[in-house]
Subunit: 246 residues, 2 copies
């Protein structure tokens, strides 16, 4: 399993992913699920991947290779004229990889599937955020739905629904995601630290560094232990219930 979230704020994008992958319960590893391509001043594109690791690694590798082999019939992800074309390229690559694996060898139904969040900015276009389905089609985040989650989305969703604000600061957004990830990590063994995150400030055309939160991260531990008490205090701040008599 996996948990990845991307938020679309007024001031830009925030990406966070866990790094745990598992094949069964007794085979867990750490793999990066946050990938970024950028050409300074020209394009910044970040991917968050969830699903079959062989599929998502193949997609990322293909996108990487196409950027290097200049005469490939599929142009580089950084040469696309718009975010829409970027997402279409990623979606087609994802569909091709899944189709190739599903057509040969052992059949595993949905096991080759993956979902990908893509966000960024290209040229003079706006900052945009998309969610790509295993079929290769995609939807875009809007003012009504300003964030996407993939993987184990349920445990961490209530706090996003209630506390997200489009005009929140990057620092508050990272804090919010830490709470959402902590709730998920506490409930699902297949989502785990370390976490990767990245900020992108709209119109900067330069990606923020990809930073890592590991088990020794002091601030994350403050959030993780403090959130239980904060939730209890929130619960007790609501008016008490009175059991009806009779």
């Amino acid at each position: 399993m996996t948990y990845c979230v991307a938020l679309k704020l007024d001031r830009g994008l925030v990406f966070m992913s866990d790094t745990r992958t598992n094949a069964g319960f007794d085979n867990i590893s750490t793999f990066r699920k946050l990938h970024c391509w950028s050409a300074p001043g020209k394009a910044v594109i970040t991917l968050l991947t969830a699903g079959n690791l062989a599929t998502t690694q193949a997609v990322v590798s293909l996108l990487d290779e196409r950027g290097k082999a200049a005469d490939d019939r599929n142009p580089s992800i950084l040469e696309q004229p718009s975010m829409f074309q970027v997402v279409r390229l990623v979606g087609e690559t994802l569909r091709e990889v899944i189709a190739r694996q599903a057509d040969t060898g052992e059949r595993a139904d949905a096991a080759f599937n993956a979902s990908i969040i893509v966000g960024g900015q290209v040229g003079t276009g706006a900052t945009r955020l998309f969610l790509i389905y295993p079929e290769g089609n995609f939807i875009e985040a809007s003012a009504d739905t300003p964030y996407f989650q993939v993987g184990e989305t349920k445990y961490g969703r209530p706090i996003l629904v209630r506390a997200f604000d489009r005009d929140m600061s990057f620092a508050d957004a990272v804090k919010l995601l830490m709470v959402s990830f902590d709730s998920t990590i506490k409930a699902n063994l297949t989502v785990g630290l370390p976490l990767d995150y990245q900020l992108y400030e709209s119109d900067s055309m330069a990606p923020g560094p990809i930073r890592r939160i590991d088990m020794e991260d002091e601030y994350f531990n403050v959030i993780s232990t403090g959130w239980g008490d904060a939730l209890k205090a929130a619960f007790h701040s609501l008016p008490p219930f009175t059991i009806p008599s009779g």
Copy 2:
């Protein structure tokens, strides 16, 4: 879908369930999922059901009928000598119903499945709480895991994990469940009001009334609107994050 929770407190049991059932997205109905049998001073048994409605209704009807037809080879649920035997009877009934439906007519794999929470007290035994799987086997709540959820369990779980206390009052427990249900209802269309709840005070050997919370319930609306603000306040009560420089 469905959402049902039973809590085992020091002072007794608290049961809550939603009442929404759906066959597809365009066919929703209201059905009771909380069922209680009691013989004053002798036995109090409450069931919470999740899963295929035909299966759970058949199980409840069979348990009802066996209580009435005195010469049935399967004795009444109220005639069992212990909670363990009660749960075994319910589990066997559930397995029989699923097996009968799965063996005939159209095959629908897991679609006939159901899970049942059973709690109560029989004779001089202790108050006990069990979760029965579709296979008919079951587990019992303990000090380590003092509550069971069935159905759409994920959205409402973080607040249970953080705010549940074995020695909380019945009123606080109902309030806690309202918060947990509200988070679930806000996230999953197939869980919906009205809610049913029931309290059982250990050693009273008399079931509390089954009460209903509908859309006009003033207190539930206070919780539902207040919880968003309380969560935001909890979030802001945690120390702010500082984005690392460089």
